[in-house]
Structures are given as C-alpha cells and as structure tokens.
C-alpha cells in the first residue's frame, strides 16, 4: 500500500471517528431541546461552526501521529513530494466531492420548500458535508488504486 493510500484511509477513519459521533450527538441534542425558530437557527449555525475546527484539528493531530508511527514502523522519512499525478487525482476527487455537495444542497433546498423546516435543511446540509468529504477521500483511494 502506498503512502498516499495509507494517508487517505487514515483520513477516512478519522472522519468516521469524529464526524459520525458528532452528528449523532447533535441530532439527539436537537430532538431533546425542542427549540423555537430563532434559537433553532442559532443551534444549527453553532453546530456547523463547531464541526469545522473539530475536523481540522482532529485531521492535524491524526496526521502527525500517523507520520510519526509510519516513520517508526516502516523507517520511511516523511518527504513525499506532490507531483502532477497527485494534483490530477486531487482535482478529480474534489470535482466528485463538489458534485455530491451540489446534489445535497439541491435536496436541502427542496426539503425547506416542501417542509418549511430550517432544521431539515441544516440536517441535510451537515450530512451532505460529511458525505462529500467521504466522496473526496474514497475518490482519491479509487484513483490511486485503479489509475486515472
């Protein structure tokens, strides 16, 4: 398994470990609190704002730990350069991720039009964010394994 594949698998695991429990916690909290409309909007705004740094910090910590463990176990130095193939794979994966996000965004607009509930829209947007992140990582793993 190449360094890039390992990196992406670690990102995937981190994303599952951090995002999924956070989403479950937020959805349970929302159901328990029974908020009125202005507080409901604040709640979802805060939920998204907390998720972003949480993902960034967890990604940085896990990447550092992975780099140290990888160096200890395999003896390889962390001096992988990024070349044209890596850039192309990153571009194609980001494109797939955007497609997924656009689909989710349209579904969230349909949800708010049909149900008139901002919570439905925010729930779909948060789930879409996580799913599009998974799409990005899985696309990278696929392109590194199968070629582009």
């Amino acid at each position: 398994m190449t360094h890039q594949e390992k990196n992406n698998i670690i990102s995937m695991i981190t994303s599952i470990i951090v995002s999924v429990p956070y989403l479950i916690f937020i959805f349970n909290k929302y159901q328990a609190e029974n908020l009125a409309l202005p507080e409901e909007l604040k709640f979802w705004g805060a939920a998204i704002l907390i998720l972003i740094p949480l993902r960034i910090i967890s990604e940085i910590i896990v990447y550092i730990v992975f780099a140290i463990l990888n160096t200890i176990i395999t003896g390889e130095d962390e001096v992988e350069i990024t070349d044209e193939r890596d850039n192309l794979i990153a571009l194609k994966s980001t494109r797939n991720s955007y497609y997924m996000f656009i689909i989710g965004f349209v579904i969230s607009l349909i949800a708010i039009t049909v149900s008139s509930s901002p919570s439905a829209m925010f729930m779909i947007l948060i789930i879409t964010g996580v799913v599009s992140e998974f799409t990005d990582i899985l696309s990278k793993i696929y392109y590194y394994r199968k070629g582009i």
């Binding site: 360094h3 890039q4 992988e80 350069i81 070349d83 044209e84 193939r85 890596d86 199968k146 070629g147």
Partner: protein, 75 residues
C-alpha cells in the same frame, strides 16, 4: 480510458540503461516512485512535459518511449 491507448517502454528502457531503479528515474524526472509505477503499469498517462523529460533521461525520442495505439481499445 487513456491508459488503453498509450503504451510505453519505460520498464524496458530502465533495464537497458544500467538497470535504473524506479526510484532513480522518479528522482531524475521530479515525480514520485508511485507515478513511475503507474506509468509502467499503464494506469497513468503522463503529461507531455513529463513524457519528454522521461525520453530525455533515456536519450531517446518520445515515440521510442511512448506510443499511441487507438486500435488496442477495441480488443
């Protein structure tokens, strides 16, 4: 996909050039070893610039390193 169309002799040329390793070739042309592996396995078609750089390392013309054969796709 493009990998069905573009064939290459990189592996053969490496061995003909003093059994050059993938790592050494990768360093010479400024890419990762994984990219050289992907090119040799036909999983990645390099940019024109990278193709020329590889040909330059082997002191060959680009058509001696890479060949385009659209008919192979119909097999």
């Amino acid at each position: 996909m493009s990998k069905d169309f573009i064939k290459n002799n990189v592996k053969k040329l490496r061995f003909d050039n003093g059994q050059m390793t993938q790592e050494a070739l990768a360093k010479e042309v400024g890419v990762t070893r994984q990219t050289i592996i992907a090119i040799e396995n036909g999983n990645y078609s390099p940019s024109l610039e990278l193709a020329f750089r590889i040909a330059l390392i082997f002191e060959s013309n680009i058509d001696e390193v890479f060949s385009y054969s659209p008919n192979d796709n119909s097999k």
